[in-house]
Amino acid sequence: MSPPNGAAVRFTNITKSFPGYVAVQGINLDVQAGRFLSVVGPSGCGKSTLLNMAAGLMTPTEGTVEIFGEPLQGINRKAGYMFQQDALLPWKTVIDNILLGLVFQGVEPKLAEERARTWIHRVGLDGFADRYPHQLSGGMRKRVAMAQTWIVDPAIVFMDEPFGALDVHTRLRMESEILSLWAETNKTVMFVTHDLEEAIALSDEVVVLSAGPASRMVGRYEVGLERPRNLIDIKTNPRFVEIYGSIWRDLREEVLKSYERNEKA
């Protein structure tokens, strides 16, 4: 019954209700340290809610969240979070946004700026340090958000549909960048997406949620594709096709259910 040690995030019997609406119900899930795990499910099933509870931004109605074996209280200090919406501070330049986490930690300004510069270079934003977010493209803003989250070196990174709004090209590049960033570290990543292909291409493990209300975990799948992965060709890999087929059989029903519910509503 009790999952193996070494869970970076562990949800036990998690239920979250909003007034008049049960978002997720009875979720048991552990995210093993150092792994890349994706959560997929139809829109509105409670994926963001799940991340928010793991981040300590929301408290579960029932159940507990543990971070590296400790019950979570308040904000999750071990985690970084790339939000689904634009979350950069619009009044700060690219560099000031990136070094924000360091400022909060009290890192000396000179040092913080130096480190931010290396991150600007890393995410390919040389020459844009002094721009404001509204002067950047959507893809560039996501790069800033990425650097902002990773610069403080959190042990766990939550990402909520980070590339949903990007065009296919930019998206593929950002996905590759995330994978190479992650490969350099031993971070635990919990990645949320409604795109099953993206989930399989990036992850070690994929978790499927059912359509809301009262969304549950439908299944959990080991991806088992070797790394490093070439995201351009991965979709034709036979193992990819096979796992995609088996997950889609489960997810399909959930998507259909959520269509039906939406039509009734």
Partner: protein, 267 residues
Amino acid sequence: MSETKKRSRVPMAVWQVLLGATFLVTWQMGVSAGVMDKFFFSRPTDIAARVAQMFITGTIWVHLATTLLEAALSFLIGVGAGVIVGFVLARNAFLAALLDPYIRITNAMPRVVLAPIFLLWFGLGIWSKVALGVTVVFFIVFFNTFKGVREVDRVVVNNARMLGASERQLIRHVLIPSALTWIFSSLHISIGFAIIAVVVGEYLGASRGVGYMISQAEGVFDTTGVFAGMVILAGVVLLVGVGVDRMERYLLRWKPEHTDEVKGQVS
């Protein structure tokens, strides 16, 4: 697009000058021709001469300095208190709910009726005027700060918290910058109102200041003097407004098109 803007901007300035000139010339000729009574309307040339004379002889400075000092004090105290109280109430739902009816009642009171009581409390010197100015500025700034802090983007706040912001850092890096847009829209209005309030205060009882000057001129039926005071006041408000615009443009330089948004909120 920018071409049509340029082409239409030059003629518009010409039209605007023309309109003003027509107004002044009509006024001047109306009085000279005897259609308008010089006693009640004075004449633009006389008013201009009086303004010039006031600056040349230097009689205006003591009044102007007094009025500006009172306005500046009302403004600083009013803005400081408005921002602080706005912040505290925006961050404390209980206090905000508790004080809500009293704030509404106080704000509903016409400020001018407070002038006599302030004169009694603080005397004829500058502080009775400052007190009046503060009551005007405070509420404008308070309401805008409250709103600005309340309407800060939740996601940006959450992002800062995940990055490790303490409550203080959150205020400094997120809440204040976010509220600045609203605060600035209130500064434009409150500077004008601060000057109006102190001038009204001076008018009702003082020994110097532009309002006092106007009331003195009125007392001897010196219409030209009254108009001269009005012109000087309008000039001061305009100049100060330009200063605030500059500061706003600098502090809100991160906003895409901040000027439109801010100027639209006159309430």
